[in-house]
Amino acid sequence: MMVTHKKFITETIQFITVFMMLAALYAIFFYAPVEKTMGIVQKIFYIHVPSAFLAFFAFLITFVTSIIYLYKKDYKWDVIAACSAEIGVVFCTIVLITGPIWAKPVWNVWWTWDPRLTTTLILWFTYIAYFMLRGAVRENQRANLSAVFGIIGFVNVPITFLAIRLWRTIHPVVITTKGLNMVPPMKHTLILTFIAFLFLFLTLLLCRTRLENIRIDTEKMRALAEDRFDQE
């Protein structure tokens, strides 16, 4: 009963995700107008900004579930933390790739050491380190150590941002807040892509945690089978 119930929810969310993503794509290319000064390249904005938001959201989930894991010591939370961090790294990578593609024609450089860019890069390195750590430690300590690092890495983000902002105050601010002065179709498109990406995140997280749980179960079964085999 429980399983079919869960399956129903997963499938519903997957269905909504497909629908929302298609709607978002339509909105990006047909509904939203082409920006006057930047031209067609500005469309990347609808992928770039929601991805950045999603990466940050995913790392927040890792942070929260890491705390819950240390408090409750239930491996379920460790699995969610790791899977969420994985999705976060994927979206962080998308941000770091779409960013320069957008920046080259608009600012005429691939990269600037702006606080937001630099913080994103550091964030990316932090969670790459998170996975290196997961791969390198022994099984019995993996959950504890990666939870501690998941917390440390996230707490460090605001300090890094402050330090980098102070570091670069002499330089002109390259990114201005465009969020407020957009024409309504652009705003609608952005909101739609935000929601679509949020559903995409949910789908990915559900599938990824399910896969991880299956992997853990298989490993357990294999260990059991090997024990059996050794006895005979």
């Binding site: 390195f125 022994r138 300590q141 707490v155």
Partner: protein, 225 residues
């Protein structure tokens, strides 16, 4: 009082074992000396506008040679098999952490003072007029370095690729500390008054406090097996 005594016992143990072998301090000092030499070749120090890069060179050599020492902090305990004894000390994980952190801080501080004295000769740098602000930056920076370094030393000591792991974990997290220290040192060496570096010192102090607090909250989980 009891806590301070136990803490001192751990610090004293590290200091004594280091005084007997002297291998960590010596290798750290030698390494940072070499880093300074390599940099002075790489950047043609002493010609033109080389004053600007001195803060960067100093902190890179502090961090590189400091990491060598901090990795040994828990690495040696594992190698010698004394780590179980350390964790079985009748005191809180926080106390064990603090003891190891103070030990690391002392060793790193010795290396930093050595490096600064060497660089006054090599780079013709007169630090005497800036002793107070520079000392403050170095104190807060080294404290932050030892605070974060000791946490990651304990984490990476459990892995196979110990030193590589330590660097990969340490560098992304230490970014605010490195930026603040380098910029503050640069401002001070430019001859600006101490007020000019207050915002940097704030960031350094915040960094130190946040990581001390995190160590207090999480160190128990790190040493749990």
């Amino acid at each position: 009082m009891d806590f301070v005594q136990k803490l001192w016992a751990i610090v004293w143990k590290d200091l004594t074992s280091e005084l007997r072998s002297k291998e960590m301090i010596l290798s750290m000092c030698l390494f940072s000396f070499l880093v300074l030499i390599i940099f002075s070749f790489a950047f043609e120090m002493g010609f033109g506008d080389s004053k600007k890069i001195i803060p960067g060179i100093l902190w890179v050599s502090f961090i590189f040679s400091g990491l060598m020492g901090v990795g040994r902090s828990f690495g040696l305990e594992r190698d010698r098999g004394t780590i179980q004894g350390l964790f079985l000390c009748p005191m809180s994980p926080w106390g064990i952490y603090l003891g190891k952190m103070i030990g690391t801080f002392v060793f790193t501080m010795i290396m930093v003072i050595f490096t600064v004295s060497i660089s006054t000769i090599l780079f013709n740098l007169n630090v005497l007029p800036f002793l107070v602000p520079l000392g403050l930056i170095i104190f807060l920076g080294t404290l932050g370095f030892s605070t974060v370094g000791t946490i990651f030393s304990a984490i990476s000591a459990t892995t196979r690729t110990r030193d590589v792991m330590l660097s990969i974990l340490f560098f992304p997290v230490s970014v605010p500390m490195i930026i603040a220290s380098v910029k503050a040192t640069g401002t001070v060496l430019d001859g600006k008054p101490i007020q000019a570096i207050f915002s940097w010192l704030n960031i350094l102090a915040a960094f130190d406090l946040v990581f001390l607090l995190l160590a207090y909250l999480t160190f128990g989980f790190i040493i749990e097996e």
